[in-house]
């Protein structure tokens, strides 16, 4: 029996709103408020039951490509739950916050080593936010040189946030196609580059899991036209200890601490998206900068060239702390090993699937690879979506599907370094069995999830985003 899943606000307080006069200026008083009325026991049963209808990396394999769902170690959470983390306000006198500031400074230094960048700001709240901060820096840089450059080049395999961030910063987008080998087509790049080019945004390895071997050449081309080279660091976990954005010639990079550095995703966030730059761009980084002098850590606000602030505070300290704990735990060699195992796992799983799914492009892959259900679709009418839904029945989270768009019926698979061979074999066995299964079963999946296949188009059509709205539709008015 499926447990009670009523909305908690259906246990509502029906009494009249109490008299609260004297607390608000005239005309500003509230007259009603509908919130649930539950005791702690009901409250917890409700939310615990909801949690049980959710799947996380602690529940099982989560090979979601481009999302790096790796294990979130518990020591990091425990460290983050102390009052010396939680009960700190970002406006505190620096003297009161030497601990937080030291953690941040050390984290900047660690990220600098990892990325080969000269200066880091931990301020951005997530990957896309780091991209945006980077685009603002690109803008400020060219402006400082009196140059007007209004285009940003983005490969078609780029993550959606890349073009979105560039556009949000006011740039025109120039999309370039991938070549046969899944890498940037250098001729297309050459054609796209111009004096209007502000930057090229690149992920390496790209979202196909392919390393752009000609990255140095590419960097030279971009730099040769006076543009900057930006690195989307969400995929850094494939290369740590092997190469770095700095070594590859990039000028700016953002990190996804919630991917590479094993902090929890929290069902969609919070994350943390620091941005790193080569020294010639340091002056443009967000304020305040953390400075260190004889007395300890201080905050430097007097940075006239800075882009200013991208969020209201200092960044997501609680996430930064977790990531720093993880970096300390792994150490340099440990991070390198993580990359090695992530890549090994990805290539192993790819090999296991090769005879059952179409897997375009040549070896080796890095941390992820993209398979395709296009043959399955042709032969049996089973799409990537159906494969995904059927995997749910086996307690394995489906891969990312339909991304990148350049692969038809894409299944983008990133096992991460945490899965054991046994677990990889289970993923493979399940995916192979689905490929061989009676299509009717697959098309009707999931069969054993808390709900049947969810009607996403109805959700779009109705656009009911709240209980209020739900009620007003139900009552026909409100």
């Amino acid at each position: 029996m499926r447990p009670d899943r009523r909305l908690i606000m259906e246990r509502i307080d029906a009494d009249a709103y109490p008299d609260v006069s004297g607390y608000m200026p005239k005309g500003m008083e509230r007259g009603s408020l509908h919130l649930p009325k539950v005791n702690e026991s009901e409250l917890l049963r409700h939310y615990i039951a909801l949690s049980r209808d959710n799947f996380g990396t602690d529940s099982g394999p989560y090979p979601l490509g481009s999302c790096t769902m790796k294990h979130n170690p518990k020591y990091a959470d425990r460290l983050a739950s102390q009052p010396s983390v939680g009960r700190m306000h970002h406006h505190m006198d620096e003297d009161h916050a030497q601990g937080s500031l030291e953690i941040m400074k050390r984290m900047e230094m660690a990220l600098s080593e990892i990325s080969g960048m000269d200066a880091i700001s931990l301020q951005p709240s997530a990957g896309a936010h780091g991209e945006y901060a980077a685009m603002l820096i690109v803008k400020a840089y060219h402006a400082s040189r009196g140059e007007e450059r209004d285009e940003v080049i983005v490969p078609d395999s780029a993550h959606g946030t890349n073009p979105a961030s560039a556009a949000m910063a006011g740039y025109k987008l120039v999309e370039i196609p991938s070549g046969e080998d899944g890498c940037v087509d250098l001729d297309a790049l050459e054609a796209a580059l111009s004096d209007r080019t502000a930057a090229l945004m690149l992920t390496n390895p790209n979202t196909l899991g392919i390393f752009e071997r000609r990255v140095k050449e590419l960097a030279a081309m971009v730099h040769g036209r006076g543009a900057l080279l930006y690195y989307d660091g969400a995929n850094l976990n494939a290369i740590m200890g092997k190469t770095s954005p700095g070594a590859m010639g990039f000028d700016l990079v953002h990190f996804n601490l919630h991917k590479t550095f094993a902090t929890p995703h929290g069902g969609g966030g919070p994350g943390s998206g620091p941005v790193g730059v080569k020294s010639f761009l340091e002056d443009f980084l967000p304020i305040p900068r953390i400075a260190e002098d004889a007395d300890g850590m201080t905050l430097d606000w007097a940075r006239p060239k800075s882009i200013g602030k991208v969020n209201g505070a200092m960044g997501n300290f609680a996430i930064i702390l977790r990531a720093y704990a993880y970096i300390l735990r792994q150490g340099g060699d440990g991070l390198k090993e993580c990359s090695e195992r992530a890549v090994l796992n990805s290539n192993y799983l790819k090999k296991r699937l090769e005879n059952h799914y179409d897997v375009p492009f040549a070896d080796p892959r890095k941390h992820e690879f993209v398979a395709s259900a296009k043959n399955l679709k042709k032969e049996k009418g089973v799409r990537a979506l159906d494969v995904a839904k059927r995997m749910i029945d086996h307690g394995i989270h489906p891969p990312t599907i339909y991304f990148p768009a350049l692969v038809e019926e894409a299944l983008m698979i990133e096992p991460t370094e945490d899965e054991t061979m046994e677990s990889l074999d289970r993923i493979a066995d399940v995916m192979i069995s689905i490929a061989e299964e009676d299509p009717a079963t697959v098309l009707a999946a999931p069969h054993s999830a808390p709900v049947g296949r969810v009607d996403e188009s109805k959700a779009v059509k109705d656009a009911v985003l709240s209980y209020r709205r739900m009620l007003s539709l139900r009552e026909g008015s409100r």
Partner: protein
């Protein structure tokens, strides 16, 4: 595994990384879990947190009591180790919790649609301004000058790509909106008008509802969600978009992050909204189910033409807020709001007894915080207070320079009489 792949040693998998870009990672060796814990605790011990050194800081980030039930729920690993719920069948729990969050926010704000979070209050405002620019052709966004430098800077940065200019209007002697100044600035070119209540000075501004009559441009209202337990819903004041910071709803301050950007709007504008939203729908058996919806607004579908670049948001903080609001319920939230008003009243009254201090600067209703005018530079006072074991309030000089002698003091239910009394007697001594 290497055998199966057909390689002899692991580095063969990196043969595609050219020699010229190879490098080493000169970080120290790894440490045991125990040593990491000890090392980080050693560093954190250098902090003086609000439990040790009472703090009077606020402006969007408050030291409230976090019910243990909230911690418990967001520590459920099915929740916090999950990703964005792309596969609704495997994520009904998170989806429903977020739908409930949206519902609570809609109820508080009096609007029908809310997204399931932005990074923080400042970026939520930035996104609101951008949304206004999408809703009409104006090229000026009007906002109060009474904002922290942080918020102003974020807002400017979020408007950079839109061609919209930011124009700031002033405040009146009672700390509310200067209606004349707004009036003067309103033209057809205004694409959006923003006001806060409570505002930077903690003032519950009864003039905000009057703004609705002054322009057809979208009205954006910034709120404190706890104050909304007692305050008229902005939707009823004619607001089109409501933003704010929801950290106060069950999350620690965490040195400022993560926050929780609240974002709600009218149903009619839902397709112009930024951020992720969870919608109600049905499953194949016709039963109630939830899923992410209106995704064509988002970057992973619309890419360069998305309403925002936001991807990862702060979903777990939103869940904390949902649990917090359900834990308190209506009556509990009303009590909490009252207690925060009473605490602030008590503190401002005590301080007003000190000679040479004006407390509060603005004769008005306040929530959580209020400005006081001091005979000495606030920065200096904070230094002295620090030596006596207090973290004073926010000196306003860096934010609104004309109030350079003022300090913003915030207090919550975490300050009992003893702490307030002690603080006031210290302040008296110091002045």
């Amino acid at each position: 595994m290497m055998d199966f792949i057909g390689i002899g040693f692991e580095d063969e998998l990196f043969k595609d990384v050219p020699e010229e870009v190879r490098c080493h990672l000169p970080l120290p060796k790894g440490m045991s879990e125990k040593d990491v814990t000890r090392e980080i605790e050693r560093i954190l011990a250098k902090n003086s947190h609000a439990g040790e050194v009472p703090s009077f800081l606020g402006v969007g980030c408050y030291d409230h009591y976090v019910p243990a039930a909230v911690d418990h729920v967001i520590s459920r690993s099915e929740f916090y180790t999950s990703y964005t719920p792309y596969q609704p069948e495997m994520s009904q729990g998170m989806l429903q919790a977020l739908f409930e969050y949206q519902s609570h926010i809609c109820e508080l704000t009096g609007l029908d649609a809310a997204n399931c979070s932005m990074y923080d209050g400042a970026t939520a405002l930035g996104e609101a301004a951008r949304m206004c620019a999408r809703l009409n052709d104006g090229n000026v966004f009007l906002a109060p000058r009474a904002m922290t430098r942080e918020k102003v800077s974020v807002l400017r940065n979020y408007l950079i790509g839109t061609g919209v200019e930011l124009e700031l209007y002033g405040w009146d002697e009672d700390g509310g909106v200067d209606l004349d100044d707004v009036e003067r600035r309103i033209t057809d070119g205004v694409c959006g008008l923003y006001a806060e209540t409570p505002n930077l000075f903690g003032v519950i501004d009864a003039r905000v509802p009057l703004l609705r009559g002054m322009t057809d441009a979208p009205l954006v209202v910034g709120v404190n969600p706890i104050a909304l337990a007692l305050m008229r819903a902005p939707g009823d004041m004619g607001a089109d978009i409501v933003v704010g910071d929801g950290q106060c709803l069950g999350s620690p301050m965490n040195y400022g992050g993560p926050g929780l950007g609240l974002f709600a709007c009218r149903q009619e504008h839902v397709r112009k909204m930024p951020g992720r939203v969870i919608g109600l729908t049905e499953d194949s058996r016709g039963e109630q189910a939830f899923c992410m919806t209106l995704q064509t607004r988002e970057q992973h579908i619309r890419r360069g033409r998305a309403t925002s670049n936001i991807c990862t948001n702060v979903a777990l903080v939103a869940v904390a807020a949902a649990v917090f609001l359900s834990y308190h319920g209506r009556d509990g939230l009303i009590e909490l709001a009252k207690e925060n008003i009473n605490r602030a009243r008590r503190l401002m009254d005590l301080i007003s007894d000190i000679d040479n201090v004006q407390s509060p600067v603005f004769d008005n209703h306040h929530f959580n915080e209020f400005a006081v005018e001091l005979p000495v530079k606030p920065e200096k006072i904070n230094c002295i207070l620090a030596k006596r074991g207090f973290q004073g309030g926010l000196p306003l000089s860096a934010h609104v320079p004309e109030m350079g002698d003022c300090m913003l003091l915030a207090t919550t239910e975490m300050h009992d009489d003893e702490v307030q009394d002690h603080f006031v007697s210290m302040l008296r001594e110091v002045l």
